[in-house]
Symmetry: C2
Subunit: 387 residues, 2 copies
């Protein structure tokens, strides 16, 4: 029996993870659940899975939860709550599916406790890839990627020697605005950007997918997960999202992983690894998929991708700034305070204002992250003041 | 230094193998070469590679060779010649690239000597898969497939447990007549059938590709190489020949191997395995490949594929009959003595005339093979006598 903790159990990935647990009640047991503010759904999950530990973002949420269900032994809130879920002694695998940067400390704590990490949160590696991977190595902990692209690469590599790998090739759907020019994107709304063609996901990641920043963050994530320099990580646009990603080997062979677009597959892969189990999803029928296309990304129309490469190649703390400014920019865009094409402009301006520095401690990461958020928020206000 | 013997050195695969040797003079050395009747080309190869052993099909060929070059220490002809090449003591890897059934005894002899087998000859496994795989297991010998489809599957499996595999999916280009009805194919000529859209190959295999028998033989070969029943081996038509084949895992993930259509890649893979080396071929650029399509095979228009499944499912010596009748039929078609659509008819009639029997010795294989050839030749004469 594999005992699971989920950080972000009420989100899109979290509920898919619970569906995987439902499909394998003889193999998986939910032991700890952490959520943000959705006390009602967490209460349902508590009734169904009877976890030992639960957490919510706020004390108010905890009060609401107590009114809705018979609470577990341990109920906590805030950063302390996330830590309690991530370090719960009986847990084997921690699925980190809470979005944003809040989960970083919890992941580091889980690693220190020797938990296997199933990682669905991009920001953890984008902000602190060096810290996290060093800690994982030091504690002999596996970081199993749940993002479909990195999960695909993990499957393609399948313990192959790094010396045999020439290039990682991340596929990108291209998002809802594929084929459109930058000029034509100035007036698009959040509602337009939230219509993703192939994947059903949370709001933040769906906007990141529309700007291609999602792929940029994935390039940085791939660098840390697989120890590859930016020059050996490529992006190819593949609108059908059937090929989840590829690995080019030194002899020219390309190994690809394909599947239907359902997050239960990579989540189950991470829970079951190194085993494989039957999955609660339909099999892929390539003969009914139409044709598969592959294109170069439109670098100039979607500048976020190039910004991410620039941040990664800088080999300092610039990815923290990229990520923080992007979170602020997407948030402002979703609230209608920032235009779509102003997102990369705001990020670039924030990156340009950064004076460098190495982020080799969690405190340093937090300080640069905080600075970049403040700077980006100031940037939003400046842009709003322009008539 | 890996020492190589090549059975069929003057053919399409053989010359590609020598190009691989040319690309890796520090890693590969040619020690023994066997050819059919092309003494002139073999003489060139002798001058260039200075092998210890060479063989030709006939004594006349040997005489011609002696007139064209300074011959190696050992020069032999006929079945004895093939055996001398296959069992040459200093050889590590025997590439079996001679077409047809003549190489079977040589492969068994090479296995008995503990040589690694790089197998490009389909008939060896179609006729005697049980004998060959049993011998390989008994002698701890690896059989590395050079056929691009089986080579792709070998790469996709990459030491994965058989319990994790749901299905092998062989891709087929569909050949030059893809999309045409059986009725429209009655009058096609050998010249039409020899125009393969994606691969440059020998005549026999190109005709087999046009009838889809090539894929049928590959299904039988995959059964033996990977220990999969017919029910777990599928064929999908993929006209672009970029995806060389795929493995579907039990959780629904599909692992595919892609590459350019150049036989040097799978040959080098077999020579270098378990290592990988840089290859003397261009890298695949998926963004310049147009679109990739996948279709169900046209079972009724190309009956040879179903005949091969029927032979494999019979679990007796029927694949020997299928293969022998196909060789006779293709030979007759190439000489203009048999129509294209009569190829499957002749094979089916020969299979129907077979009374069964287990082929558990080389002699039994030869007897059934001989019977089937005689029966098929008689069938060609009968069809020719019909006005």
């Amino acid at each position: 029996m594999i005992r699971i903790a989920i950080l972000g159990s009420t989100g899109s990935i979290g509920t898919s993870a619970l569906a995987v647990v439902d499909a394998h009640p003889d193999r998986l047991r939910v032991v700890a659940l952490g959520a943000g503010n959705n006390a009602a759904l967490l209460a349902e999950q508590v009734r169904k899975y009877c976890p030992e530990v639960v957490a919510l973002a706020s004390g108010d949420g905890v009060d609401t939860l107590r009114g809705l269900c018979d609470p577990p032994r341990t109920v906590a809130s805030g950063a302390e709550g996330l830590l309690a879920v991530a370090t719960c002694p009986s847990v084997d695998v921690v699925l980190c599916a809470s979005s944003g940067t809040a989960a970083l400390e919890a992941v580091l704590a889980a690693i220190a406790c020797g938990k296997t990490i199933a990682l669905a949160n991009k920001e953890v590696l984008v902000m602190a890839g060096g810290l996290v991977m060093d800690a994982a190595r030091a504690h002999g902990v596996a970081i199993l990627p749940v993002d479909s692209e990195h999960n695909a690469i993990h499957q393609c590599l399948h313990q192959r020697s790094g010396a045999d790998v020439r290039r990682l090739i991340l596929t990108a759907s291209g998002g809802p605005f594929r084929g459109r020019s930058r000029a034509s994107l100035a007036g698009v709304t959040a509602a337009d950007a939230l219509k993703h063609p192939t994947w059903q996901m949370g709001q933040k990641i769906t906007i990141d997918s529309a700007t291609l920043m999602n792929k940029g963050l994935e390039v940085i994530e791939a660098h840390w997960l697989f120890g590859m320099p930016a020059s050996r990580i490529d992006v190819v646009v593949h609108p059908q999202s059937i090929v989840h990603s590829m690995v080019e080997l030194r002899d020219g062979s390309v190994i690809a992983q394909m599947g239907i677009t359902d997050m239960r597959l990579p989540i189950q892969y991470a829970f079951s690894y190194p085993e494989r189990w039957d999955a609660p999803v339909p099999f892929l029928d390539l003969t009914r998929m139409g044709t598969l296309e592959f294109h170069e990304p439109a670098w100039d129309d979607f500048p976020c991708l190039r910004l991410a490469y620039r941040a990664l190649e800088a080999e300092n703390s610039l990815p923290i700034v990229l990520n923080a400014a992007n979170e602020v920019a997407v948030d402002a865009f979703l609230r209608g305070e920032l235009g779509f094409t102003a997102i990369p402009d705001l990020i670039a301006a924030t990156m340009n204002a950064h004076t460098g520095g190495v982020a080799d401690t969690l405190d340093a990461v937090r300080r640069i992250d905080g600075w970049a958020r403040d700077r980006a928020r100031a940037g939003v206000r400046e842009l709003q003041s322009i008539p």
